[in-house]
Amino acid sequence: MSQSGPQVADSPATGTPSRASSPTPPDPTAPSGFARVRGLIGGGGPAVALVVLIAFFSIATPNFFSVSNASSLLSQLSILLVISIGLTFVILLGSLDLSVEGVMASSSLVFVLLAANDRNDLSLGFVALIAGVLTGSLFGLLNGVLHVYLKVPSFMVTLGTGAIGVGLATVLFGGRAPRLMDDGLRGLGFGNVGIFPKLALIAILVLIVALLVQKFTRVGRYGYAIGGDEPVVRLSGVNVERYKVLSFVLAGTGSGIAGVMAAMQLGVGDVSIGAGFQFTAITAVVLGGTALVGGIGGVGKTLVGAAIITVLANGLILLGVNPYVQISVQGLVIVVAVVATGWSLRKRVRAIK
């Protein structure tokens, strides 16, 4: 191991794109404004790819580079971004959260059924919104506690809790999608402010909060260290368990917010409201430059990853490419990205599960 955890933890914002490809350590002196942004979103590969993609689609299709398409791009990006941001905190630990779709389903239904709806007489207003988001947080807490204290691999726990989330949503769903009748709540996420979709404004707010959490809180800082080298962090007296659980709570909260956003956008609570997001969100995080082995990456990089996925999806549809091919491509991207970051870490004698 050339880099130990604490070193990584000291310089998350200045960025170490990958252990393999950056022989020079990040400049320890105060970075300029440009370098700061570069460090945040990750210079090089992903950002360049995003620019190239935008340029390509602008030339290749007449409709891509327009105000209306920019608006729809932002709207498509919003929910994916919020999920991916949450997921980033867990992937930084080297763990994975596969419960996104189930959590989104549950939180969307909790939200809609507690707000004014066409199923029951409840109309709790903002309490419903908070309850929807907290549903996600609770799932995150459950994931974290089961994973950390019972020592079950995170993908296995979240596979199970994801199923529980879908099941809970199916029970709440009761055969017909409940409609959200509270126009005030619906208006928070539906429609535009100027050319800005309201969902995008929510996503930007989440992004800012997540960046602050990542940079200025212990759960954010220790996350890098734990993902980089957990035993060292443990030996230095950090309550690793607590911060791991908190990271899962952040991820669950992200999925919870995303579920509520999707319910606002569609005006219904639905079991399949998160369908397809799990996979896309993992791809977005990995594409942005957060390594699945943990310790490297960040929320800012995830923004670039999510933007690449969204631009690619939108542009390819405008070009008339079969949308199903994109699922295959995303699958390949995950594997290739992981193989590429892990190739130099292979050992001759090593058991890998």
Binding site: L93, G94, S95, L96, L146, H147, V148, L150, K151, V152, P153, S154, F155, M156, V157, L159, G160, T161, G162, A163, I164, G165, V166, G167, L168, T170, V171, F173, G174, E230, P231, F279, I282, T283, L292, G294, N322, Y324, V325, Q326, I327, S328, V329, Q330, G331, L332, V333, I334, V335, V338, V339, G342, W343, R346, K347, V349, R350, A351, I352, K353
Partner: protein, 329 residues
Amino acid sequence: MTTQTPTRPRAAVASGITVKDRVIAVFPLLVLIVLVLLVLTQQPNFLSIASVRGLLESMAPILLLAIGQTFVILTGGIDLSFAVVSSLSTVLLALWLPDMGVGALILVPILACLTGVLTGTVVAFAQIPSFIVSLGAMGLWTGVALTLSSASTIRISAGYDVIGWVTDMRIGGLPVSALIAILLAIIISVAIRVLSRGRALHTMGLAENALLMSGNPTRAYRILAFALCGLFSGLAGVVLASSQYSGGPSLGDTLMLPAIAAVVIGGNAITGGVGGPLKTLVGALIIVVLRVGLNAIGIDPAYEQIIYGAVIIGAVVLTIDRSRLGIVK
């Protein structure tokens, strides 16, 4: 010395058996018996031939998928793409049966096997955790299945005779698909006991480094486990296509959770090295009886998913071998 290696872990395990291990070994069987008795009190004709036939019919694809997954879980890995591969197999069958007939029936399981070889090769040579590689594979094959089928269910009419017997044929009133699946589970269990290298996959899960140091081709073993998983997913696809008279890009996807649940609740440790197809058979029986039982005591099928999720987590918590886990990620 080298030739003795496969037997050594068995000795190590035998000496290290604790009370907990013994409880875990018989627990699934007890659960199954209690479940059957409980259902019998609600449905006295539960063990009638018609009822058992229905039970076994719904078990066949789950059991085939679960046996395949058992090989991978024995090595300590997991293949999350297996259910999707079975869906892809149904699509390929639906597309090829009209023209190729028996050829499709042979070719599709082979291709399914090759998807496993691919996943296994990437896991073995790039040394990446299997759940990530198979997650990627899951996306890859979902996309392929959706593209080939244009995201719609394809009805099989011409050439259905080739796979029709899987659903229609009965031996002693019981469906041949389930009987074949059970027979396969038994044959594999016997092979594991009889063959000199039969416990190679167990040893992979228990002490891969030791196996490697003593000159065994651990990469080949790993690829073999994934290849077998792919092959059995393909067979599950054949059973599904036959019973549904069609191929669909997500026909087998809903079987992913019940199949994984069957493997872990049967007592196969997710950390590898402990278990076998017979345990998986017990697990699969528990899952299908549970499904029927819930219906019998009047629980909404909507709760099924919650129970699968809880069963998976609960079984893994009980069977996981924490002494062999370093950092849990």
